[in-house]
Symmetry: C2
Subunit: 545 residues, 2 copies
């Protein structure tokens, strides 16, 4: 028997106690619905976390009970981020943008015992409360919004509960690092949302990755603004990472307008900001109006980052976007698109192309690509495509209640991400499609996304979505669903002629349908499911090519 | 039952495969005894690691057998760093500076089956080989030194073995993250050296800490020069950290002269260098003669970093030393002395004082100070002293074969470091003594180090060591052992008079002994053990003060 290292669990109490011990003087700044900001220190926040821990006991939340949150990005939400898992309970961040039926489904599926709701969000939440089967208390955080608070025995008031509670004494202890700390449901473009359950270990390790110099590299001197919602997959690890590093934090609350965000960035000298492409798209025209000289990293993820957006930031403020890739099931950060020394000799435009890729796996994560049908691993040659599969200590092994087994996970335990990519010899992932959107024509894969990009390159096309239609000879063929720019005229022949120089002949759409708009999901992505339903029994009007 | 994250172990094969997959083109540069450099790529190095894995099988090394290394910092040593633990064996780095009896003791105590020795070191190693009870093979790496290789059946040739071996195919797998990966013996100023056994988990987590932006922050663009020997506690995590990050690496081999190191730094545009104070002390007068403009971090540890040394670097090249603190038992990095925003308003001199402290605990490590006798935890007030105790996933829980239990570890499992410190309110540790060197006079602690510093402030004192002598009334009192500057005269009364203004009256030495030199240990530290033996039954010549 050899000697041993200490068996210290990787659990979130370490994050809390580190912040409390070292960074009590650092600031937490939250924008309110009224347009003002509330500033608190980590020391005061930590006392509130300790009080909240006692409140959870007093509310009778089970030892591993789920506590739902229906909140913006606020310092109070961050109190829940720590108090819930540090007392052994499980934080269930409810997505504010879920359709009502999905909201009810996930709260019931997770068996939430308590839901904490910000007053400004009661209008979205309260109408569905009678369908929530396990929720005993709805704790309202009064964020100053004028929303009426229902007179109902289930309603409890966050500040009253905290004021009446003694702070938890001594250190928090969670011994089992594999215990659940938090959960988050996938947005689910097909079927019901599925629950991903993060362990203390996965969450802490994922948070450490926010500290890596080749990456976001959070440090004590940073001022971090997560625009990415805290109800999305751990807000990309920034809340816990920020506490470990001792960074200051600015939380935007409900204010998502470009000016609201830009004002916060300028006024509080934000150094690191993180959000989805749509947010940065909105800010792009206004960047020059604000002093963003403190900014050093703008993290962008959630969907592929358009090259033009990243380049727009680079032109305006000298700072391209840093692309991160992942999903709820990957905690979410799996890869980051930082340039490396091998890219130093590329032209500016080529470097922008590299930044538009999803980048190489971060440390502790393994990625591979495999044929979606045979499962055979594909080479990293920049040409071969395959489904991205992921393994690592912060990648899901299954969904809550064992759902998704056998379909979304391989026999050797890797996550099937559903994303299709090529990987170059330096390990840079470039997404080309979703597996379910690929078109298999005559045994060869056609990327619907690549074909859409070529169609959208036509100046008269506003947007386009490509789906597979059944074909007797080739099994599947592409159907182009095209929205024409207002006031323009376009024919199928004209479009096919345009494409003939740009794609292989067998990639040319079998048919073109002109539509008024591409249907979208609740989070704004193309809903190809709706298109498939609409064009289910599509009959090609022309003979085989 | 909640859903789960993947049970992916934190083991060193991840480090190897990450480097092989992503960083095959990066360089490993080793200085040879002949004064030339050998350059290899990670891709070529990785093939050699795979061959070495097969060699270990062919040599019949047990499944968890110990493989000793008696090597400089070289690319071949780095091959052993990976091949040994990635095949489940345990790397035992033998300290080149051990006295022969200690070398024999540790190799036997660890039950080394094979020792890999560089040819230039055979002269130090081979004379003791017949006393090694478990070693079956001595594998010689021919580094071009002219040392004669004995004609002995135990001798095997590293390059011949590699050339004849097939590379290990497929991925390395170590399933148990708590399995031993490496071991290192303490230098042991008292009693026999004790073995610290690092697990895969502890080693990988400790290596991640080298990537943190607030710290060394290794990145792909770095060129890392570990002057700290690879036989010292994981070379401070740099070899594995460098492979995770993809940094280039420069290895100094046996060349430890200031010019040899400075030439490597200048020629290879080193960005991060790491070594003990003695090394940097030697470089200080020569810094201006070399182009060190690529350098961004000079890490210094192993013993307290003198303020004057760090300030010397700052004056010469604009870069103070970054102090790290730890010991073999802490893997070793436990704290890092980076300045934080709270120090921004301090004067340059005050900032230098902060840098001369050992700094706050790094993420995942917990430190506390406690009374060495009662064990009572002491406040972080910058005044209260206590023994530093450490907890964390890369801190030892016991020594090899269970030695040290009950003495070096607290009841709640923290390591007693033997270092005495004060901690300020920001968590910055400042070492003031070793517990065994403290003097307890009338129930109050006297710091021997503080007292030594005051004595050495006298212009006629070359060096001084203070030890405790028995005292009937006060239990212990300080005895000053003083070396006078050559050609100077100093009396006890003159020294006591000098001290009277500088320390509390009860700190004044009970007696002063003038000696020719302070005895040193094998690593150059004051050997107070020798002084205590010499002055064991010391009788104070003067009546009680």
């Amino acid at each position: 028997m050899l000697g041993l290292m200490q068996d210290r669990p990787l659990t979130l109490p370490h994050v809390f106690h580190r912040a409390e011990q070292f960074f009590g003087h650092k600031q937490l700044i939250t924008a309110t619905p009224a347009g003002t900001v509330e500033t608190t220190t980590v020391a005061d926040w930590a006392v509130r976390v300790r009080r909240l821990a006692t409140v959870l006991d007093e509310l009778g939340v089970s030892a591993d009970g789920r506590v739902g949150t229906f909140c913006w990005n606020t310092a109070r939400h961050l109190e829940l981020y720590l108090a819930v898992p540090c007392t052994g309970r499980v934080l269930h961040t409810l997505n504010l943008r879920l359709f009502p039926d999905q909201l009810v489904y996930v709260a019931n599926h997770a068996e939430d015992e308590v839901v904490v709701v910000e007053r400004s969000l009661l209008g979205l939440f309260w109408p569905h409360v009678d369908r929530l089967e396990t929720v005993r208390h709805v704790v309202v955080i009064d964020d100053g919004a004028p929303t009426e608070i229902p007179d109902d025995p289930r309603i409890r008031h966050y500040e009253e509960l905290l004021a009446a509670a003694d702070p938890h004494a001594g250190r928090f202890v969670v011994d089992d690092e594999n215990a659940a700390a938090a959960m988050c449901y996938t947005s689910g473009t097909t079927g019901n949302p599925k629950g991903v359950v993060y362990s203390h270990r996965s969450t802490l390790l994922h948070s450490l990755a926010t500290l890596f110099a080749d990456g976001v590299g959070l440090g004590e001197r940073d001022v971090v603004l997560p625009v990415v919602p805290m109800f999305h997959a751990n807000a990309w690890g920034l809340p816990y990472g920020r506490l470990l590093a001792g960074s200051s934090m600015v939380l935007p609350g409900p204010g998502m307008s470009p000016d609201a965000i830009l004002s916060l960035m300028a006024e509080h000298r934000v150094t690191v900001a993180a959000g989805v492409p749509t947010i940065w798209m909105g800010l792009l025209p206004r960047l020059a109006d604000y002093d963003l000289s403190a900014l050093r990293t703008v993290l962008c993820g959630g969907s592929a980052v358009p090259k033009v957006l990243s380049e727009g930031f680079r032109s305006a403020i000298g700072l391209p976007l840093l692309q991160g890739w992942g999903m709820t099931e990957t905690s979410p950060v799996a890869s980051l698109g930082l340039l490396r020394t091998v890219h130093d000799d590329l032209s500016t435009d080529e470097q922008a192309d590299v930044r538009a890729m999803q980048g190489p796996a971060v440390p502790l994560v393994d990625l591979r690509i495999a044929d979606p049908e045979s499962g055979e691993e594909q080479p990293w040659d920049g040409v071969s495509t395959g489904e991205v599969q992921a393994a690592g200590p912060w990648i899901a092994a299954e969904y809550h209640r064992g759902e998704g087994g056998g379909v979304q996970f391989t026999d050797d335990g890797w996550l099937r991400t559903g994303d299709v990519a090529v990987v170059d010899r330096h390990g840079y992932v470039k997404l080309v499609d979703r597996t379910k959107d690929l078109i298999k024509s005559g045994g060869e894969w056609i990327s619907s996304v690549d074909l859409e990009n070529e169609i959208m390159a036509h100046p008269k096309v506003a947007e386009a979505a490509v789906i597979a239609i059944a074909h007797e000879k080739w099994v599947e063929r592409p159907l182009a669903c095209v929205v024409v720019e207002p006031g323009e005229q376009l024919t199928a022949d004209e479009l096919i002629g345009f494409l003939a120089d740009r794609v292989a002949k067998w990639w040319l759409p079998e048919a073109v349908e002109f539509i008024d708009e591409v249907p979208k999901t609740s989070v704004g992505k193309f809903s190809k499911k709706t298109l498939r339903e609409k064009f289910g029994g599509y009959q090609v009007a022309t003979p085989d090519v």
